[in-house]
Symmetry: D2
Subunit: 145 residues, 4 copies
């Protein structure tokens, strides 16, 4: 189904463990809805601690989720003995994220042994309707595990 | 002391209120160490909820703090009836943020009635030594308060 | 066919004039292959003056074409008495641009009265095959004409 | 004088050859005013072919010069058998570049065996006064020469 073949057949286990490790990603309540070669879908549900002054999702949460979606997408294609870390990203916040769910779709634009380029689109769900709120372009570098 | 003159003489009160509002910024434990026309310094202390798998500050925390530092710096120069929101930013993570304190210095590169461009440098403090861990370039747009 | 309605019915004339004005864009040999509401396609043919040391398209040409494609796409939706200028962009160069033709597809992600966000994908054509060589995310601001 | 030590003692010769090779950089009329470990200064003089519709330096020229300044700065620290190529950059254009000379100061923020992060500030000179017109943040990757 995918144009990419994962180098590590156990990529799913590793990536699920990633969001379940105690720390910031788990604090955000990040869940992996989908992970396939070169593709990820991550979700965060709203709660007050994740909001800004209007009660919308805070930009910092949007950035963290999009970055994470890029990392998970890149991680599906990384060799078994490496994992990708974010070298840099750029994000455009295009609308307020006013809703109950934040959904990030990450995808690999160009995999590489050293450098992988990914994008992520973040939508916010209100009344079962998803609206695009941000888009990210990221560069990740594989480092030894 | 500064090359910029704030349009709103009460900019400090407004910006301090910003980080004290319940929500994500307060959850992160963000404190404003300094705020002067065109300049900001923000700090976050480490705790497990802000870490990644190695126990360093998570990239999402670094991005959120740098973005906040840009917003506070831009906010010092915004007209009284407006406030800046982040349109976009780009961040390079250059070293692991392994330490007890994360410190962001935000500064305005070019203020404007509509668009303000800022940068932020983020350092991590270990054993009283600060090491640069990330640098951000951000574009903010003033919206009616 | 498009999800966007142009505010200025004469947008095509204005945008074609843009690339024909003497100066850098004309020096590059830029031609508009397509311009529809929210969408653009621009092309540059290779010649030695546009190359780097390997004889591929220079990164500066790729950046200029992608930026131009974003500007033309944004220009289709700008009000008649304004035109968009580039506030900032970020580009990832993902492969060498080794071929006879450089093709940029620009599209509007989010139009606005003040700020418009666009993306552009740049491909290089060799032996009738197009390969993605770069992708851009750009922020444009409308200014009075 | 510099905090960095170049791995290749002949870095100057190699970098000067870079801008003198026939192609886009030479077409732009790029000259290296200064090149020291981790630092570069590049200049382009205005002529009509480099202008936009107002007769200012075109954004594409500004982007190419800033990118080149980052590449030259990174090149001073690259191992003798490698050279840096631009993986990605982000540039903010903050003022019109209305003047006779475009000057880019490139500097290395973080050198690395694989990834080097640089910034460049671009000024425009009119009547002997330099005004900042753009700032860039770039990621470069060393590849075998």
């Amino acid at each position: 189904m995918s144009q990419w073949t994962p180098a590590n057949p156990h990529f799913r286990e590793r990536l699920h463990a990633n969001v379940e490790t105690p720390g910031f990603t788990r604090f955000l309540g990040t869940t992996i809805e989908r992970v396939d070669p070169g593709i990820s879908e991550l979700v965060i549900a709203f709660r007050e601690e994740l909001g800004q002054h209007h009660g919308y999702f805070h930009g910092g949460v949007i950035g963290a989720l999009a970055d994470n979606a890029c990392g998970i997408a890149a991680g599906t294609l990384a060799p078994a003995d490496t994992y990708p870390i974010t070298s840099e990203y750029k994000i455009n916040i295009i609308r307020p994220a006013n809703g109950e769910l934040l959904i990030a779709h990450g995808s690999v634009i160009k995999p590489g042994t050293t450098v992988t380029v990914c994008r992520a689109d973040v939508s916010c769900r209100t009344n079962e309707q998803d609206t695009l709120v941000a888009t990210m372009l990221a560069t990740l570098v594989n480092v030894p595990a």
